[in-house]
Symmetry: C2
Subunit: 180 residues, 2 copies
C-alpha cells in the first residue's frame, strides 16, 4: 500500500473508531441514533479491507470494548446437504480478531492471524453468530507489549451458534499484534 | 435434498467420476483430449455442491487416485495488506477432502469435515496451490471401514505454496467418511 493510501486508510479507520466510541460512550438518544451509522461504517471498512468477508455476507452486529458479536448468513453459503459450508464459519470466527484491535488499539499496531483451528460439531441450518468477550483492558495490555517489544500474541476462543442457540462449531485463533 | 434430487446428483457425480477415470486410465491421445472436459465437469460439480468454493475462485487442477492438486486465485481474495486473506487458503485446504472421496469412493459414503487447523507462515502475494498425496489404496481402506462400521476418520495434511514454491501456510484437516 502506498504511503498516501495508508494515511487515507488510517484517517478513515480513525473516523470510524471515533464514531463508534462516541455512539457507545453514553446511552443518550443522540448516541443511540448514531450507532447504526457507525456500525454500517465499520462494516464498510471491513468490506474494503477484506472483500472476501463482505462478499460472503459477514457482518459485525455489535461492538464495544472487550466485546464483539458477528454473524454470517446461510444464504449463498450452503452446501449440497442444505447446511452451511465450513468456510463461512471460518470467516465468522476469524474476522473479529482483526476488528477488535481496530476498534480498541491505536493505528500504531496491526493484527496478523497465525493459526486458527475450527472444530465442527453439528450441521448449521440457519445464519450463525459468534460473540467474543475479553476483559475490557485485555487488548490494551497486548498493545502495550507490542509497542514495547514489536509484537505480542493474543487468542480468541469462540462458540459459533445457530439461531436456536445451539453450538455448531468452536474456534481457537491465535493472532499476533505487530508494531507497524 | 429430495430423493429425486439426490438420485440426479448421484447420477451426475457418477458420470463425472467415470469420465475422469477413463481420461486418466490411459495416456492415449483420446484420453488426453477427454481430460480438460472431465476436469471442467468436476469443477462444475464442486461449484454446484459448494457455491462458496467456486465464487471464491477455488479450482481443482489435477486429480488421480491418491493425488489432487488445487489452486485458489489471489484475484478478489486479497486484504488491505495486498496479500491473500486467510479465508481463501482455508477453502483451498478444505475442499480437496471432499473431492478426493467423490472421485475415489462410491456414492454409498460421504465425507464430513470435523476439524481443520490452518497455520499461516508467510504472506501470500500470488495464487496459492496445494497438493495432497495419499497411498493409492488409502481411501479405499477408509471406505471399507465406513461401510462396515458406519463411519471412518481420515486426515489430510497440506502445504500451501505460492507461485515461487514457498510454503505460505500449512493445514491439518480431519474428516469423517460416513455411510449414507
Amino acid at each position: 500500500m502506498s504511503t498516501l493510501a495508508r494515511k487515507l486508510n488510517d484517517e478513515i479507520v480513525g473516523w470510524v473508531r471515533t464514531a463508534l466510541r462516541q455512539s457507545m460512550a453514553t446511552n443518550t438518544p443522540a448516541a443511540r441514533l448514531l450507532r447504526p451509522g457507525a456500525m454500517a461504517a465499520l462494516n464498510r471498512v471491513v468490506g474494503l479491507a477484506v472483500p472476501f468477508a463482505r462478499r460472503n455476507r459477514f457482518e459485525v452486529l455489535e461492538i464495544r470494548p472487550g466485546y464483539l458479536k458477528a454473524r454470517i448468513a446461510l444464504k449463498g453459503n450452503g452446501n449440497h446437504f442444505g447446511t452451511m459450508y465450513a468456510g463461512p464459519m471460518f470467516v465468522l470466527a476469524e474476522i473479529p480478531g482483526g476488528v477488535m484491535p481496530l476498534f480498541e488499539c491505536s493505528s500504531a499496531t496491526l493484527p496478523v492471524l497465525k493459526q486458527l483451528t475450527m472444530t465442527y460439531l453439528r450441521p448449521a441450518k440457519s445464519n450463525v453468530t459468534v460473540e467474543f468477550s475479553l476483559p475490557p483492558d485485555a487488548l490494551g495490555k497486548v498493545e502495550a507489549i507490542a509497542l514495547r517489544d514489536g509484537k505480542a500474541d493474543f487468542d480468541l476462543v469462540g462458540e459459533l451458534k445457530d439461531e436456536d442457540g445451539v453450538v455448531v462449531a468452536t474456534s481457537r485463533a491465535l493472532y499476533q499484534l505487530r508494531k507497524r
